[in-house]
């Protein structure tokens, strides 16, 4: 916290942009990579790469742009709760859907 207070006194628009521009560059690179990977002739691996990259992009946006990296414990718990309940929703439903597919 004290480091942030100190840095704000020397902050310029340039440093503000630089701190965020690398994330944007990484997001653009990931977008280009996922568009390219979709044309690989590997079927299911393409799908996994597409959603894996979506997860990586989300992590960058959530941690840096949405500042979860520096958020309080309470805010992190709330963010994790959304993911946790969504995970329950997916796990229970897909356990049913996938087991029916396997046993068909």
């Amino acid at each position: 916290m004290s480091a942030e207070t100190e840095s704000s006194s020397t902050e310029t628009p340039g440093t503000l942009w630089l701190r965020n521009l690398w994330v944007w560059t990484a997001l653009m690179a990931l977008l280009a990579f996922s568009a390219w990977a979709a044309y690989w002739p590997y079927g299911r691996i393409d799908t996994a790469v597409g959603f894996g990259i979506a997860g990586a992009k989300t992590a960058l946006v959530a941690l840096v742009f949405m500042r979860l990296k520096h958020a309080s414990g309470l805010v992190r718990v709330v963010a994790a709760c959304g993911l946790f309940w969504a995970a329950i929703l997916f796990t229970l439903t897909l356990a049913d859907v996938l087991s029916r597919m396997v046993n068909r």
Binding site: P13, L31, W40, Y42, G50
Partner: protein, 223 residues
């Protein structure tokens, strides 16, 4: 900082708390951030349910979903993803500049750019919708593809892109509101938690699109 200035910038009920200004500002900010995150967590579940419906339908109809995914326009889809990711950059810079209360022109410029990029997304989406309608990709009697489950894909496509566009339109209205109020009143944006709250909502709408991109535009490209 004068007493009246603090009163104006500390919104209710924080101005009534008997603490020093710094603590009151910190609590106001923490309360606003906590509140919007609770809402965002509920949005994660709302879109999570839609995404789960897509996942179950895709697992059951893999070939039809690949054929349907090939029909969406990947150029428009990729362009719109790039536009939204860039709008998240300008929104993040606006939010961080406003929090420090340092660079009013930078904050206003970035807010205006964010709203403009949001509008650009909707314009591109409009062109894409026109093409989809011309290609008979609306589920119903004159649907273009022979596989019946491809209509499930496009039913999902229309539902979820319209719901996303409504969310984005609300975001554009909120960002435009901040821009106008900040332009009229020089002190409005400085340390105002409304900027952070609007930014967090904007980023979530971006994250939803990040997942829609591989769901709607990438299936079936290699086949």
């Amino acid at each position: 900082m004068s007493g009246a200035d603090v009163e104006a910038r500390l919104r209710e009920p924080w101005s009534d708390l008997e603490t020093d200004d710094a603590t009151a500002f910190a609590r106001q900010r923490d309360g606003a951030t906590f509140g919007i995150w609770v809402f965002l967590a509920s949005e994660v579940l709302f879109f999570g349910a839609l995404f789960l419906t897509y996942t179950a339908a895709r697992l059951a109809n893999q070939e039809a979903f690949a054929a349907a995914g090939r029909e969406t326009n990947i150029i428009y889809g990729t362009l719109n993803t790039a536009i939204l990711l860039t709008s998240s950059l300008t929104m993040a810079v606006a939010s961080q500049a406003a929090e420090k209360g340092l660079f009013r022109r930078l904050t206003l410029g970035c807010l205006a750019a964010t709203a403009a990029l949001g509008l650009a997304f909707l314009v591109v989406k409009g062109f894409e919708y026109r093409e989809d309608i011309e290609k008979h990709l609306v589920p119903g009697a004159h649907f273009a593809l022979s596989q019946a489950p491809a209509q499930i894909f496009f039913g999902f496509y229309w539902l979820v892109t319209v719901v996303h566009a409504i969310h984005l339109s609300i975001g554009i209205a909120l960002v435009t509101r901040l821009t106008i109020k900040g332009w009229r009143d020089a002190d409005f944006l400085k340390e105002n938690p409304q900027v952070e709250v609007t930014a967090l909502y904007w980023h979530l709408v971006d994250v939803v699109w990040i997942f829609l991109y591989p769901m709607l535009y990438l299936p079936g490209r290699s086949g």
